[in-house]
Symmetry: C2
Subunit: 416 residues, 2 copies
């Protein structure tokens, strides 16, 4: 195989420069710590926002080191989960008071599912048919499936995996809750949140959405589409840092009946009353559990500053332009048949990543990383490239496709 | 009321100076960021270890900012929960491979209780009498009771609160598990870990210990006393920082049957295989759930360096000397009857805090804090003073009692 021909390269590189020059989000790059690599793994771990190091140093040295215990009140530690939850909420279309940050995504899936089952069963009390079924999209990120299996076992429900494309048709009179990933972690396929949610409601079920691969990459519209509950992580497109706390959305209408399986003291109506009987707090903070992880949470809060003044519509427009452009560059540079895109061509079905099926994907990705293009590999044969509109440009995108073509052509390594 | 007389003060201050001069742990103070206040709230939030700020800055700037996704492997992020777990393990008498760090204490109580119930019921399969009872010490920190209630509800068990002093006698043929706080958060009473554990085993039950107020303050001896499972936080005597991750101990003998109610992908035998079926990992990491909170976890790891070369026996000896000395100073300075110690006089029943019942405790503590002595207040009438042997000295202790006496005497404020 040959390398991409020079005229195609020159033409696309020129187009990339024009697109970058016209990009209204390009100034946001300065808000991140970047380097010479093309970082296309922000769908796994977002890059470091420039404001985080100084803010975290202040949290450690002053709030913890000097104020110590007083910071729970004076530095706003105690209320951080709901305060930061509201900021995440804005990015996923949730009005204030419905999102709390804390715990891992897995733990939040457990809260959301058991909570949803209890609400659905409560709504169906007295019916002839039991609501004793949990549906999960069968290509789910694994942890959702494992946790759903545990939730099913502990609530006496059955778990039934269903392809996401068939989810709307599969919900039925026995369905208590359907758990769906908004964007498939492997293929980058965007699932139909409004349609599946409406179908779930029509069947009397609740729908829980996992937003890990959509929040910060595209508008979600939780309130607009009447979503019941949702969870997501904050370390991908929200750039909160490694293992930063996840979040739980409980729609306002469900909050009075949200009955958490993890009723820790932080969700008590009077947490410092230290009463032996549990009385849940009102509102989103009913989803809290134990003492929040302050260092990680306040790093996340600082990271969210990059979203000030950013509309998710603009992010979505750039995301689609980036993935379109990447697919075009790959089409121009990589010999036909050498890779196959698993990511849908239709915009309405695409998240913010491109997944390419490729023989020797593990070795190819290792070589890409050596040459300064960082994506990731998903067993057994998938190259994943995540496009983070706040800090990825079109020149980066062209270069990634060019280096990919060179690697696939077996050309000597050269970091462009 | 009068202030303490000058000769008593001079005599105890002199004794404090001698005790500090002879204290083999006194050099450890230099490992912490301290100031002019007497900080006796390390049983709520430990002081900042001096090594943490630089380490955390490096984690943020280099590991996250520069290495980004590579740090999961190259910087040892992925294995942090079990690596740091082993370091916590040494401090609570657990051989390596039995402790993982992650999640909050509340979430770990849920894992431990449900896991213990399943093991106990498995061991009793085929018996006539069901093991369907959870005992909890009735003065427990509230979150343990709330979570125990949820665990009971979700496993079909009954929850029965029992005074810790009667726990050994209360375990019976129906008991699946007893949940006991090693040290009572309010009174500072140390409960009988070896005796209650042995009584539980004699009845065929498991015992889960909450070590929040003992780990880092006294030897726990988990392996030595045959403890089944245990949980604890790391932000009190272990100084891990606000909301730093908690830990879960599962004794080696129980690990093959530990069946977590929160089987997240981090506890899978092959987490990156992304298999739809859950297969638990062997060993302690079966207690992991979702992606670990790296910033908080690595701050904790740096904080644990202060324990290098420290024996928990030495810590315990100093802890008892401090609390003894505080009680003596209070006895000498505070008029009889003005406060009442809730903390047992017997060393074998005392943790590392002194709790004084006092009228107007809320106002008294607020004034103490204004005068530079930081303890805390527990509703409705308790002053808590935590003694952290690594950074609290005898002169601090004498001063705290002296300021307390002055506050109680209504004398004009003067920070000594």
């Amino acid at each position: 195989m040959s390398e991409p021909n020079a005229s195609a390269t020159a033409s696309l590189a020129e187009e990339a420069a024009k697109l970058d020059a016209a990009d209204e989000l390009s100034a946001k790059r300065a808000d991140f710590i970047l380097d010479d690599t093309v970082y296309l793994d922000g769908n796994s771990l977002g890059a470091l926002p420039a404001a985080v190091p100084a803010r975290l140093a202040d949290v450690v040295a002053r709030e913890w080191g000097r104020l110590r215990i007083r910071s729970w009140g004076e530095s706003g530690w105690w209320t951080a989960p709901e305060r930061i939850g509201d900021r995440v909420g804005r990015l996923v279309g949730a009005a204030p008071g419905q999102v709390v940050v804390g715990d891992s995504t897995s733990v939040n899936v457990f809260k959301a599912l058991v909570g949803a089952i209890r609400i659905a069963q409560g709504q169906s009390a007295g019916r002839d048919v039991a609501r004793d079924e949990i549906l999960v999209d069968e290509s789910t990120f694994p942890t959702d499936g494992y946790i759903a299996e545990s939730a099913a076992r502990m609530t006496g429900c059955a778990l039934r995996p269903v392809p996401a494309a068939e989810m709307a048709a599969a919900v039925g009179p026995r369905t208590a809750v359907a758990l769906v990933n908004h964007v498939d972690y492997r293929t980058g396929r965007l699932h139909d949140l409004p349609g599946i949610t409406a179908a779930g409601h029509a069947a009397g079920a609740l729908v829980v959405w996992d937003l890990c691969h959509s929040a910060g990459a595209l508008p979600v519209g939780l309130d607009e589409h009447g979503v019941d509950l949702a969870v997501g992580c904050t370390y991908k497109y929200l750039n909160g840092g490694p293992g930063s706390p996840a979040y739980l959305y409980v729609a306002r209408e469900h909050q009075p009946r949200f009955d958490s399986p993890l009723p820790g003291w932080n969700s008590h109506a009077d947490p410092f009353g230290m009463a032996p009987a549990y009385v849940p707090a009102d509102g989103a903070l009913r989803g809290r559990v134990g003492t929040p992880d302050i260092l990680s949470m306040l790093a996340l809060e600082a990271a969210l500053d990059v979203w000030d003044g950013v509309s998710t519509a603009a992010v979505r427009a750039k995301s689609l332009a980036l993935t379109d452009f990447f697919l075009r560059c790959v089409g121009a540079y990589v010999p036909a048949g050498r890779v196959e895109s698993l990511t849908p061509a239709a915009h309405g079905e695409r998240g913010s990543q491109v997944a390419l099926r490729c023989a020797d994907a593990g070795e190819v990705m290792a070589e890409l990383i050596r040459r300064g293009v960082v994506g990731d590999f998903r067993h057994p044969d998938v190259l994943r490239f995540g496009f983070t509109p706040l800090y990825t440009g079109f020149a980066d995108t062209e270069r990634a496709a060019r280096v990919l073509a060179a690697v696939l052509a077996g050309a000597p390594g050269e970091v462009a």
